[in-house]
Structure formats: structure tokens, C-alpha cells
């Protein structure tokens, strides 16, 4: 049983003020639009209870599961919000599992800072990855994609 610990930081600047960026994390409909919905995935369930101690849970089927992993593949995500400071900071702990087997636990912080008329977002993740050293690279790539989708979501809803 090996565990790999790793951390990464991603910074983005959005041309949108902090309250609107924050709302895209806080509002279940908005969050679902950029965080969960996506090509190649079938959403089986999604719920968000955005408050300190509240949870976010999702289950989504990876449509290329058979060709990638050789079996029908369902990913699950469970999040607990440790701290929420309106318009400024969100800290959460989350697990990921594949077909019911947990493969990572992470601690993440999202910091929002005013930058001109927009927002500088700093995403930091610390993770314990159980499925080998590649886990963190895939995770960072996944979050870069999500933060691009957040950018597109903010632009489309300006």
C-alpha cells in the first residue's frame, strides 16, 4: 500500500469581480455547470450543500471507461467544506473514488483577491494519492481544465 503526498498551486486571473467568482462556487446550479457537466461524462448524481460542515457529493460515469480502464467506470467525489469566507476564501477536504475504491484524499484552498476590476484566484491542493505517483499530475491537469471551464462559465454568464 503506497501513498504519495504532493501539492500544487494554480493561479488564474478572471475579468470578473470576486463576488461573482465566489457565487460560481457557492450556487449549486452554477457550480454544476462548470464543475460537473462535461463532454465524455454522464452525471449520475450531484448535490451541493454550501456551508461550513456541509457536503458536496457527485457520481459521474466516464464514458470512455471501458477503453481506458477495461470496465464500466464510475467516479465518485465527496467534499466537506471546512471554511467559507464569503467572496474571499473556501477551504475544503475531498475524496475521490473509482468504482467504490478511494484513490485520493485532498485538502484544497481557493483564495479570491481583487485584481483591478477582476479577481485573482489562487488554488492550492495538498493530496494523499494512493494509486501511484502519477496521481498528482492528472489531478493538477484536471483542475487546470476545471478552472478554464470556470473562466468560460463566467464569460458566458457575464
Amino acid at each position: 500500500m503506497t501513498t504519495t503526498h504532493a501539492s500544487f498551486v494554480i493561479e488564474r486571473t478572471y475579468p470578473t469581480a470576486p463576488p461573482r467568482v465566489f457565487a460560481a462556487w457557492a450556487d449549486p446550479e452554477a457550480k454544476r455547470a462548470w464543475f460537473v457537466e462535461g463532454e465524455g461524462w454522464e452525471i449520475q448524481s450531484y448535490e451541493l450543500d454550501f456551508r461550513e460542515g456541509g457536503t458536496e457529493r457527485s457520481q459521474f460515469r466516464f464514458l470512455k471507461g471501458e477503453e481506458t480502464f477495461g470496465e464500466k467506470t464510475v467516479f465518485g467525489n465527496e467534499t466537506v467544506f471546512n471554511e467559507i469566507v464569503d467572496n474571499e476564501r473556501i477551504i475544503f477536504t475531498y475524496s475521490m473514488d473509482r468504482n467504490g475504491v478511494r484513490f485520493s484524499i485532498s485538502l484544497a484552498s481557493v483564495e479570491l483577491k481583487p485584481a483591478g476590476g477582476g479577481t485573482r484566484l489562487i488554488f492550492t491542493e495538498h493530496g494523499a494519492f494512493f494509486d501511484g505517483a502519477d496521481g498528482v499530475k492528472m489531478r493538477e491537469a484536471g483542475w487546470r481544465e476545471l478552472l478554464d471551464k470556470l473562466d468560460a462559465h463566467l464569460a458566458a454568464n457575464a
Binding site: T3, H5, N82, E83, T93, I105, E111
Partner: protein, 152 residues
Amino acid sequence: MTKRSTTHATFVIEREYAHPPAKVFAAYADPKKKAKWFVGPEDWEKSNHKLDFRVGGKESVSGGPPGGPVHYYNGEIWDIVENERIVIGYDMHLDQTRISVSLGTTEIRPNGAGARLIYTEQGVYLDGYDDAGSRERGTRELLDQLETFLNT
């Protein structure tokens, strides 16, 4: 208004115990056992330690020096592999102020007839709270107390 800031830090502590992994694991898993060693310094005033040892279960304890601020520990268990691994996410408050959120991984491996324990803590310290190494020192003290507990 609080000036918001974060400091991210990771530390690793390794220990070797002359006790097999199952015994070390039990010192974490059995609430009566963990309450014996997972406590603050002797002169502190303390609350009861509470532990519901299952994935999704909670752990809490608080305490502090007489007349000083109260340290509140509130954890949630995220992963358990019997005799091998425990992952706990936890918050610390000093009185009403949240000072940190952390992820702690305890790995236990066979080491001859004993066990090697590797504790990795990844955390974020909040709003100018200056840890200055005290979390790591405190954790080392706890692992000393674990050793004393295992030896008795």
C-alpha cells in the same frame, strides 16, 4: 475586518516502535487507547477526547494551559486501511479563531518485529497565525506519548 492570508506547509515525522503494526494501529483505532496518548501537555486543562473510528466518523478534543487560550481539535476520518493507513482531516481553533486546516496521513509498516510509522501532515495556516514549527513539535510530543503508551 480580518486580513485574510494563508501559509501552506508540509512536514513528515518517522518513528520506529518495537511493537507490531496491529498494536500501533489499535492505539489509533480504539477510542479508549487513543484517549490515553492523544492529549495535550500534562499541566493543560482538557476536555474529554471523543472518537468515532470509521470513515466519515468524527474526532474531537480540546484543552489549553490554565488561563490561556483553548485549543480545539476537530477531525474527520477520511480513510482507514486496517493496520496500514489512517487519513484524518482536521481543523484547529484557538478560542473562536480557526488557525489551520490540515490533512494528516499515518502510515504503519512492518519493520522487523516492530513497526515503522510515517506521519505526513499537509496544512494551511490562516490569517497570519504564526505556527513557527509548533505544530510539528506538538506532533512529535504526541508520538513520544504514543511510544510511552505502547511501552506500558
